[in-house]
């Protein structure tokens, strides 16, 4: 096992490669204590984890960030920087360039490669909408609002036809 070049303790936390007078590379192994005495700290983590990047954002908040609000879910950019979580898919458009810079810092890129999806007609969504409409149609009938019920019935028919 390696030992510290200075105090001979059998512990090495940093190895420094230096060039001596004759131009030869030589290794200096230091234990934690000797390293900090010599002013050689732990090697700084140069890469920040995503959560650290998100946490940093909060310190750089500006007045404008409170005014930048997502039209769809009501989340402000300032609130996003605090929680590190977005409120909905529209936030990605609303927060435009600012968010893009964050994404670039986290991932080193802003372009997706890989699996893609086509949101054409999806059965569940349709089925779900129909279910909801049927419920409100029932309500309308119960409330004797037949005109409304009829218009809902027509909408349901239309959706069903389109999905064929």
């Amino acid at each position: 096992m390696k030992q510290c070049s200075l105090c001979q303790k059998p512990e090495v936390s940093v190895v420094i490669t230096t060039i001596d007078k004759d131009g030869k590379a030589c290794e200096l192994a230091l234990c934690k204590e000797c390293a900090s005495k010599k002013g050689v700290g732990e090697i700084k983590k140069t890469i920040l984890a995503p959560q650290e990047i998100l946490a940093e954002l909060h310190d750089k908040i500006s007045a404008d960030d409170h005014k930048l609000i997502c039209s769809s879910c009501g989340l402000s950019y300032a609130a996003f920087t605090k929680a590190g979580r977005l409120g909905c898919e529209t936030c990605y458009e609303t927060f435009g360039n600012k968010l893009e810079a964050v994404i670039k810092r986290i991932h080193g890129t802003t372009t997706h490669i890989g699996k893609s999806t086509t949101n054409s007609k999806k059965k569940i969504t349709e089925k779900f909408v129909i279910k909801k409409l049927q419920a409100s149609m029932k309500n309308a009938i119960a409330g004797e609002d037949y005109e409304k019920a009829a218009s809902i019935r027509d909408r349901i028919r239309k959706i069903k036809e389109q999905s064929k």
Partner: protein, 371 residues
């Protein structure tokens, strides 16, 4: 409830711990997960109770409408998280079937007010406990597949199939530029996280681990403890996962984690050789002491038991200990967790009672296995 037959213990063990692959002494499991959200609904952190409920019902419906999903998942029908007791939720967490976040949120929600018959958060789990689908965690959908040992290929295949099946029914939040959209911008793109649960005792004992982990960080992989974000590394177990989900294809991410896992295995093997050549008696002593303690102790906290187990595991892997097997140790590893122990014995216990039961269960399993 003095002696529980071993066959019963076997039935209670998740199949991903049933380890028969070659690298299983170092790699415990390979896990992959996708994060997805439904288009048109706010992410769970901004969604109203009724929106969460709608999302829940849509996903529930999608799973029941798909023949192949129904056959895999509907047995579990789904487990409604908000209705679980704290102990049951912990049990699932200890088995890596739900996330720590999911447990906490359900606990805090319960304190708010008891909602009527509203299902907003739940999880589908298959019988072998290799697949879990969480609804309304940080994202609307978090699906994961865990495979025993070093096996990302098969795990990813299953995950992708699961995702394709759901995708044919549901509208996902997706942007051509950023890919799949998630609540946290760190998950966008593929929404894929691949993580390996790996046992690196020799790297820790030779103090090479820091250097190795630093190198892992440098190439954008994250190292965490046994139970994910914010948990300590216990018993020489580490979870290594990709941090980047955007700008790489799914296959590239899988190749990346496979490559780093192979390197960690090679490095750990080298360190084991070093230990056995240069510090043989010290290592043997450490291993046999740990084994003796597990065989004789009358009180064991889960942390102590896990640490001892991890040392014995090294002993079995290096064939210093031949009386027990990795499979047995895997079983003990899951059963010794506080909630699993209590569910296994079907009784609530104080920490002191648990330490006693834990010690006796471990003694029993180890001694029955010798016979």
């Amino acid at each position: 409830m003095k002696n529980i037959p071993l066959s019963l213990i076997n039935e209670l063990i998740p199949s991903w711990l049933d380890n028969k692959t070659a690298d299983s002494s170092i790699v415990l499991s390979s896990r992959v997960r996708y994060a997805r959200n439904l288009s048109g609904y706010p992410f769970p952190n901004r969604a109203s109770q009724s929106e969460l409920q709608q999302v829940f019902e849509m996903i529930n419906q999608a799973i029941h409408d798909q023949k192949n999903l129904r056959s895999i998942l509907s047995e579990s029908a789904p487990v409604s998280i908000d209705k679980l007791t704290e102990l049951q939720a912990e049990f699932l967490l200890e088995r890596h079937l739900i996330s720590p976040d999911f447990v906490q949120k359900s606990a805090s929600r319960k304190n708010l007010k008891s909602t009527k018959e509203v299902r907003v958060r739940g999880v589908f789990i298959n019988v072998g406990e290799t697949i879990s689908v969480m609804i309304n965690e940080e994202d609307h959908l978090r699906m994961q597949v865990i495979m025993p040992g070093f096996n990302f290929k098969q795990g990813f295949e299953q995950l992708n199939q699961l995702d394709n099946n759901l995708e044919s029914m549901l509208c996902y939040a997706y942007s051509p530029r950023y890919g799949y959209l998630t609540a946290c911008p760190s998950n966008i793109g593929t929404g894929l996280r691949a993580s390996v649960l790996i046992h690196l005792p020799a790297l820790v004992l030779t103090r090479e681990i820091e250097k190795v982990l630093r190198a892992v960080w440098q190439i954008h992989f994250m190292v965490r403890g046994l139970y994910g974000e914010g948990t300590e590394t216990k018993g020489y177990f580490f979870q290594v996962s990709n941090t980047l989900s955007l700008g790489q294809s799914e296959d590239e991410i899988i190749e990346g984690i496979e490559k780093i896992t192979q390197e960690l295995i090679a490095y750990e093997e080298k360190s084991r050789d070093y230990l056995l050549t240069n510090m043989k008696s010290e290592i043997e002593d450490k291993i046999f002491r740990a084994y003796a303690l597990l065989n004789s102790a009358r009180l064991l906290t889960s942390e102590e038991a896990l640490n001892l187990l991890a040392t014995v595991r090294l002993g079995v892997a290096t064939q210093i200990i031949r009386e027990t097997s990795l499979n047995t140790l895997n079983k003990i590893m899951i059963l010794l967790r506080p909630a699993n122990l209590q569910i296994f014995y079907n009784q609530k216990m104080t920490p002191g009672e648990r330490d006693e039961k834990r010690a006796s269960l471990i003694r029993q399993i180890l001694s029955e296995q010798k016979n």
